[in-house]
């Protein structure tokens, strides 16, 4: 089931116009801050209404300006993990995760929550308050909470950006594991080149409200569409000079 996106939005002088397809697997939005990556995710989620265009999921129309179709975000069953922590501060880790199981029924909710706690190694934290756990753990809980509803697509808005290196690595492994188990389109926003190059099945380079190039990472690195893309994905950016051996 593919996510098919074609949207236009004008906002405070910023002009966004993107069109792409996301198949099951990981699509990575890569680009400078302010390029329109988060804005696009919010429009797919239904948190922001585009001015024009069409968003469909496997043939189901979620938004179509020409026929005035608008599916409310609650009804889209799309998971969203926010850049900043969004765990409910008045609920424990376990209850945050259970909150994700709206309409599942008590028994099924508990069963799924316990399974997710185990899979994301969060069991020991179940009774803690969000304020008592680390940033990396919070994002894992947020991911678990989103997975409760068995989303048909997943939008991750720089979920690792506030984490330190070690936790980032952990989160990447955690995401890779989730990706193996689920066969749904996942869109990850990042401006971390390592993430973009190592995780992506499909890389989408976003610049100034446009997708300037899309394709497998290796293809974009070897055949960048223009100088800006070349500069963005240059593997030289990753080189640590004093470690190079030759």
């Amino acid at each position: 089931m593919d996510l098919d996106v074609n949207v236009k939005k004008r906002l405070d002088g910023f002009d966004l116009q993107v069109s792409f397809q996301a198949a099951p697997g990981l699509s990575v939005f890569f680009g400078d801050s302010g390029a329109g990556k988060t804005l696009t995710l919010r429009m797919i989620a239904g948190l922001l209404r585009p001015d024009e265009g069409r968003v469909t999921f496997g043939g189901e129309v979620l938004y179509d300006q020409s026929t005035r179709v608008w599916v409310r975000p609650q009804k889209r069953r799309i998971g969203f993990v926010f850049q900043h922590e969004s765990l409910f501060p008045h609920l424990t880790v376990q209850n945050n995760i259970l909150f994700g199981g709206r309409g599942l029924g008590k028994a099924k909710s508990r069963e799924r929550a316990n399974e997710l706690l185990r899979r994301l190694s969060l069991e020991k934290l179940a009774d803690k308050a969000p304020g008592e756990i680390s940033g990396g753990q919070k994002q894992r809980v947020a991911l678990a909470r989103t997975l409760m509803q068995e989303p048909r697509a997943l939008l991750l808005d720089e979920p690792f950006s506030a984490l330190d290196l070690l936790n980032r690595k952990k989160m990447r492994e955690c995401l890779a594991q989730v990706m193996r188990e689920l066969s749904i389109p996942v869109i990850l926003v990042t401006h971390d080149l390592v993430e973009a190059l190592t995780l992506a099945d499909q890389l989408l380079i976003v610049d100034d409200g446009r997708i300037v190039q899309q394709g497998p990472p290796e293809e974009i690195v070897t055949h960048p569409a223009n100088d800006h893309v070349a500069a963005l994905v240059d593997p030289e950016n990753l080189r640590v000079p004093f470690l190079s051996t030759g």
Binding site: L47, Q74, S86, F88, H90
Partner: protein, 218 residues
Amino acid sequence: MSTTSFSVYLSFKVALVATSMVVLVGTALAWLLARRRFWGRTLLDVMLTLPLVLPPTVTGYYLIVLFGRNGALGKPIYELTGWTVMFTWWAAVLASFIVALPLMIKTARAAMEAVDKRYLEAATMLGYSERETTFRVLLPLSRRGLIAGAVLAFARALGEFGATLMVAGNIPGKTDTVPIAIYSAAGSGDWSQANTLVLLFTGLSALILYVTVKLVGR
């Protein structure tokens, strides 16, 4: 029941009933002002804040104009039921309600506006309707503000004097709340009665403020 204990009992009864109404109506209005954009929103905000700045006698005067036996609302009520709210303990409730309402609205609204939008968006993305999100996320996260607003409203209702005197009068054994009883006692030179009521009331008010500070923190 002695006149002193009747006044204390009446004051608390009036303040409790008024505060319950203030909490329900005030929370709803605070939500409306915090979460909705509509025509006349600023005007509504101004109207609801007015009792905070107007002299209580002016508020009381408006209440007479509205609810008096010949008032815009009072007249049809009287014609239908033969009952008028004026000079009953319900008039004291009405006066306290109107005067205490802005305190609840201001405090609750500030608390709701301080709730980070991403919590509400997170609930939305988990499938929760706006109503569910309000009750399960917004209100729990505004809890301290709601409690503070309720306590402030209660304290204000308990101390209501001016508007109450205008609409409920000073009827011994019927509408003489503590502030009004103090006014009568001092006016008629009954200093021991006035002293008892004043000390009692100061103690109770201090206690309420202490509890609020403890609950809300800092």
